[in-house]
């Protein structure tokens, strides 16, 4: 078994955490052999050349996201930090993840259906009513509504992490409008073109087919089984930080990229205003939140949505993906109940486990958490993207006090979790590998069938020691390879 070249020159710490590429004794894990072979062979000058080519391509193709900071006058347009050492997942490990994601998404979808219909899970006393109806993402408008194939969540992104033993855990479920598809597909293109030698020497599961499945899932939603549906991607506009992703998906799948003002409601239908006049829209893949969809139904000040959209939706003349109200299932407090959902709806034991979670609305949980705040991670249930988070072990005493006060004031709004030792993978810094914490966003696509994109998006906390992988907080990405065998 080979050992990393870097280990002879630099200290590489594979001891403190689970490392994806190296075992504790710095031997290379078998599924990383090819990667190690290539990177041991490349000279620093080669690495610099490839790094340069990579950055150039990302700039030229405009693979960027926009960062809004309060102290900045002009928003920053950044290319996402992309590390070119791929994350490799062995075949058998992926089989397990694939099964686990399917199981979880099925249960979450069944839960959403149940909540908007007979609410059996509440009647059975498994989830308290107030956690559901008091949830800010619960949409009473959706009650009793029929969704095609009962597929509420056309797209999901489930975030997975690994602990110090390499066991996988679900960190959170993103069921509203998960983003990251473009980095996943674009990252693969860049890697297969700039690291063609490595890519072609490994048998990597193809992901291109998944885009076709994505489009197929959207088409399947078309009301009345229309054969050639008009599908639009509804974006908040070019100022949105994920606008690159919206343009990418629209381009790759041949969708019309529209803003709210391009659509109009008439006679319980939604129309696209284009040069040929009004054309009826059948499916809306929306990348805006529920409350902005329709100013008549939700947020009256919203300029992003389409007045009347919910009427057309209720009349069954247009499909929306993901369906409004799926947020009820990805709330951080509901998260704690997902294992119970899996048992309740599917009668199975969860394949992927939750991170141990304390529900602060419960008194005993709250007392424990307040006493151990410096060991826990606290999250505000309704926020995402790494905002509103306290990481106990690294927080200052002032931050700890602030959160303790906030939890006492509004216990329902917070959960606490055991601090997980996120696994690490090497990134290239200059010409040496250095470990960084990572997670994995696994995407599923639901139409008539359920499909999990092989690999997903590996997110990297680019700052040394940091546990925050969100791109809005300086996180980067890696291409993720699932081996065929």
């Amino acid at each position: 078994m080979s050992t990393a070249r870097q280990s002879q020159q630099h200290f590489y710490d594979a001891m403190s955490y689970f490392d994806e590429m190296f075992d504790h004794d710095l031997s290379v894990r078998p599924h990383y052999e090819a990667v190690n072979r290539l990177f041991s062979r490349l000279k620093p000058s080669d690495l610099a050349l490839r790094q340069h080519a990579l950055e150039q391509r990302m700039m030229e193709e405009g693979i960027t996201f926009t960062l809004y900071a309060p102290d900045q006058q002009d928003p920053l347009e950044r290319t996402i930090p992309f590390d070119y050492i791929p994350r490799v997942i062995p075949h058998h490990e992926w089989e397990m993840i694939d099964q686990g994601i399917r199981q979880r998404v099925k249960a979450l979808n069944a839960f959403t259906f149940d909540i908007y219909h007979s609410q059996n899970i509440i009647a059975s006393g498994i989830i308290p009513r107030r956690m559901v109806v008091g949830n800010r993402y619960y949409r009473p408008e959706m009650a009793g509504l029929q969704v095609p194939y009962n597929a509420y969540m056309t797209t999901t992104g489930i975030d997975l992490i690994r602990d110090e033993k390499g066991r996988y855990y679900v960190l959170e479920d993103n069921l509203r409008s998960p983003s990251g598809f473009s980095y996943l597909f674009k990252g693969r293109t860049l890697m297969s073109e700039l690291f063609h030698d490595l890519y072609l020497s490994c048998s990597v599961q193809n992901i291109e087919h998944s885009l076709n499945v994505f489009l197929g899932s959207l088409r399947a939603l078309a009301p009345h089984g229309k054969r050639d549906p008009l599908i639009v991607l509804l974006t908040p506009g070019s100022f949105n930080s994920a606008y690159y992703e919206h343009t990418f998906l629209a381009q790759q799948m041949g969708l019309h990229l529209v803003e709210g003002r391009d659509l109009v409601y008439k006679d319980h239908k939604i129309y696209l205003k284009d040069l040929r006049g009004l054309r009826q829209v059948d499916v809306i893949y929306r990348r805006i939140d529920d409350e902005y969809l329709d100013p008549l139904a939700f947020h009256p000040d919203s300029l992003l949505g389409v007045p009347g959209l919910m009427n057309a939706y209720r009349a069954g003349n247009v499909a929306i993906a993901n369906a409004p109200g799926t947020g009820v299932a990805d709330d951080k407090a509901i998260y704690a109940y997902v294992p119970d959902m899996i048992r309740f709806y599917l009668g199975e034991e969860p394949i992927l486990h939750n991170v141990p979670t304390y529900i602060l609305a419960r008194e005993e949980d709250r007392e424990y958490a307040l006493a151990h705040l410096d060991e826990l991670v606290v999250k505000e249930t309704s926020l995402s993207g790494g905002y509103g988070m306290l990481i106990g072990p690294t927080a200052t005493s002032q931050e700890l006090e602030q959160f303790a006060a906030a939890i006492r004031a509004n216990p329902d709004r917070y959960i606490a979790q055991t601090t997980m030792m996120l696994s690490r993978a090497p990134v290239m810094k200059g010409d040496a590998m250095t470990p960084r914490h990572i997670d994995l966003r696994a995407f599923s696509l639901m139409g008539q069938d359920l499909h999990v994109i092989p690999g997903g998006l590996t997110r990297v906390a680019m700052k040394e020691g940091s546990l925050i992988v969100n791109s809005s907080q300086g996180g980067g990405v890696k291409d993720t390879w699932v081996l065929c065998r």
């Binding site: 050349l49 080519a53 297969s192 073109e193 700039l194 063609h196 890519y199 072609l200 048998s203 990597v204 599961q205 193809n206 291109e208 087919h209 076709n212 499945v213 489009l215 197929g216 088409r219 050639d228 381009q251 790759q252 799948m253 041949g254 065929c484 065998r485």
Partner: protein, 327 residues
Amino acid sequence: MLNRNAEALFWVGRYMERAENHARLLDVHYHVQQEGLAEDAKEVQQGRKWARIVDALGSRQAYEQQYGASYTEADVLHYVTLDRDHPNSLVCCVNYARGNLRTLREKVPSEMWDVVNGFYLWLREQRQEELQHGSPHEFYQRIKEWAALFLGTSQSVMPRENEWHFIECGRYLERSENTLRILLSIRNACMDEALDTSSGGYAYLQAVLKSVSGYQAFRRYYADNIAIESINEFLVLHPAFPRSVYFAMHQMEDHLRGIGFQDAQLRAAHGKIIRQAGKTIAELSCLEREDLAGDPGGEIVAGLLHASQVLGEAFAKTFFRMGEASA
């Protein structure tokens, strides 16, 4: 204009188009790999892939004379790209185009010579090792950029006279032949690999679309229906897609009509070749999707390819009178 000038212009158009097509085909096929195959099966499949590229862009016989019977990535890339002994290689195409333009320098705007000369000088410096060691994608991207520079320059500076129409006739005739050759190679690939569209087959069909920059356009018309029948229909019959056979043939006919002659005898011959092009287009227009789908032997595509070749010969006979000197 002299006959030989006309012929040289016609071939400038053809060679530049051919160079671009080589680059597109190689770039995309280089990156296709079929997943889930065992190591040795993968090697066999790779060998077949490279052999098909030789089929599409050259001849197996000539290849095997020089490189032997094994079709490896390094050999085939060299044969098709930088081999100066292979008349159909990229470097030879550009060299011929440059040679032709050299004889036409007083007849075409000097910018066009500058571009082709620069292209050739750059290509001459390229080495096989660097091509493979660096990024083949970047390399072929550069080729496409040079070709686009030539196209853009001619578009913006050439007077729309006979010279222009000859170049464009060459370009579009070449384009329709290339698209048809790609279609034949799909058919062969399907026979070889018994492709199904679930995994490896899908990657291959998608690669075909990308090689003609047709992926995004195809999506707009056929959505998620990536299947051989739809791709056949799209690449043969689509009226708006600029690399379809239908589009290329129509463009060629337009430019053919644009050529003007004083001489009565030439005018008669000109009329004849226009009618011949019209006949091919009429046949094309009568094709239905079902005809193409029910063509597993590829007779229709082969027939169209033959018709294109006959048109090329007719060009030579009508305008150049000396047979195809530089096919």
